[in-house]
Symmetry: C2
Subunit: 350 residues, 2 copies
């Protein structure tokens, strides 16, 4: 009689179930809904417990825990970053996450987050672009055509109204892969052979390259007036994509300044370089785009609250739709003091 009680069971969303969930809801609908959850949490920004990431570094990579709480739910993401993994046929980044009930401390959801992180990153970028990009934006340059590129494109289509994406990658095979994946999904795809060609006529420029060093994917003279730059590839110390001159001409918007100054594009700038927090723009406390000639720049590094929003979203979907298996993860003796008795009784099933 080892049947655990309901309270001891934790819904688990496997990679397979996450893919089924995405297809059931529809990827664009899911990106729109996720962006809604993320925007909701940006509006509640001040009530979150904003701990720094807890990082364990080694010579070849980093393993991080990213916890946060809104006082009712507690969430954390486990995520690794191992650039050398790709050459060994492994993912650079894998992730899973957990949501728990603050009142009981009991976990209520365990889920894969490799796919979910790609979805929340794209949903965040597009939610931010909805606030900052020129209203008429219909063309996006997508520089860097790796694992994020299709998600970014579909989120910008679904949430901002982007109709055309202009692809560029130093590796033409990546561009071919991205173009093939986007075929038939309702976006005009233009394959470009240089960054300069990619940004022609684009009102939104997304940079998401995998360079591990301080690189200049966009040089100062490439960026004209009136664009929104969605810079998401600069996301750890020593990894940037933009010329400092662009940052100086742009108005820079960030998630959590303490983290962005270490991990984002602005690590190139002085510690007091002026930035605006996105949650304040969304709440109307600070201005976003002021005029048609302004360069707005979202220096996105990915913050724990976005993962929290994604965990909340998946919890709600799983409650309504299933797509989870139940894990017997928590010991739950009838008498809480009798853990040993539960163990002993399990020896001889009744």
């Amino acid at each position: 009689m080892n049947t655990p009680s309901d309270k001891a069971l934790v819904p688990f969303v496997s990679v397979d179930n996450m893919m089924r969930l995405v297809h059931h809801i529809g990827i664009e609908a899911m990106l729109v809904e996720l962006a809604g959850y993320i925007e909701e949490d940006f509006k509640r920004w001040e009530l979150f417990d904003k701990s720094p990431r807890v990082a364990s570094h080694s010579d070849v990579g980093v393993i991080e825990l990213m916890p946060t709480s809104d006082g009712e739910a507690y969430g954390f993401k486990y995520v690794n970053g191992h650039p050398k993994n790709t050459s060994e046929g492994l993912q650079t980044v894998t992730a899973f996450g957990l949501l728990a009930d603050v009142y009981t401390g009991y976990p209520v959801l365990l889920t894969e987050m490799t796919l979910l992180t790609a979805l929340r990153t794209a949903a965040t970028s597009a939610m931010v672009a909805k606030h900052l990009a020129p209203k008429s934006a219909t063309t996006m340059a997508m520089i860097g055509n790796g694992a994020q590129s299709e998600f970014q494109t579909l989120a910008m289509k679904a949430i901002v109204g982007v109709e055309t994406v202009r692809l560029y990658d130093v590796d033409a095979a990546a561009t071919e892969k991205c173009a093939a994946n986007l075929a038939g999904l309702g976006v005009s795809v233009v394959k470009c052979s240089s960054p300069e060609e990619a940004i022609e006529g684009a009102q939104i420029i997304t940079t998401c390259t995998a360079d591990k060093k301080n690189a200049v994917i966009l040089s100062d003279n490439m960026v004209g007036a009136g664009v929104h730059i969605n810079a998401i590839g600069g996301d750890c110390p020593g990894k940037t994509e933009l010329a400092a001159g662009i940052l100086e001409r742009a108005d820079v918007f960030v998630e959590f300044p303490e983290q962005t100054r270490v991990e984002g594009e602005i690590q190139q700038m002085a510690v007091d370089f002026p930035v605006t927090e996105m949650w304040e723009v969304i709440l109307g406390k600070k201005p976003g785009r002021l005029d048609d000639r302004q360069i707005t720049l979202f220096d996105g590094v990915g913050f724990a609250i976005e993962d929290f929003s994604a965990l909340r979203y998946v919890r709600d979907q799983v409650k309504a739709l299933g797509f989870a298996e139940m894990l017997d993860m928590l010991a739950d003796p009838d008498d809480p003091r009798d853990l040993f008795g539960m163990l002993q009784r399990s020896k001889t099933p009744a």
Copy 2:
């Protein structure tokens, strides 16, 4: 064709499988083996990455992440502490843990840790008592007969040679439960009606009560010369069990002073109160018990390295014996850059 590759599958040990594993190995054999792994890691103490716990506090409890790494493996435990849960039919403490490969960042084990924490706590206490208790110790007083008491007793029997346990709890029903659970397990059990009666003739005194306040379970005049005190109930700020006078007369041994000064019995003492770190005793760098009249006191609060040892142990057992199911927790596209392609192809199974 959504079959994930081996690398994307993480062995998961459910509560049910943990109980089967314990019965397969035998609880005393498992406690002995666990104590061996823990002692090994105490010997390697200096090479561990010793981060503080990451705690998220609320009015009713705390949720903590306890990470550590030895450079090859990375482990963390999720654990909550909600004293009010018991009155709602829930566990005060639930826990699960994860072990990952530092080189790839990929998780290699997910396991329940509510039972495993009880086992590792008992194994740690007994491993320490092996080093500190009088050589002739055969009788233990067990003050506090809750969820830990049977595990503590069996570990002291298997590792230190304790033959008799003298039980006391303010709640006589807890003592009855503990005595019933220990019946037939090869320990003489004496039920006592006061702490004074319990410690009569005991060379080892284990205190593990659930009082949330600064309590005096052992007063100064109760403790005579030549005993070893295994104080494990004082484990968070504001929760202690021993009179300060005992601490002054005893030689106090701890896991990690930075943590123990906040959470342990010595939170009552000055910040420079002298303590000895157990790893130094085990390595022979510092003396343990010096003579028969000395009072040794282990101020145990539970440290992340003990959980790490337990995770290593379970990983090795699971490799050899099974008792795990495989979780599809990590997205693993054939081409690491083609996460979206993996998602798209999952839509129409071949």
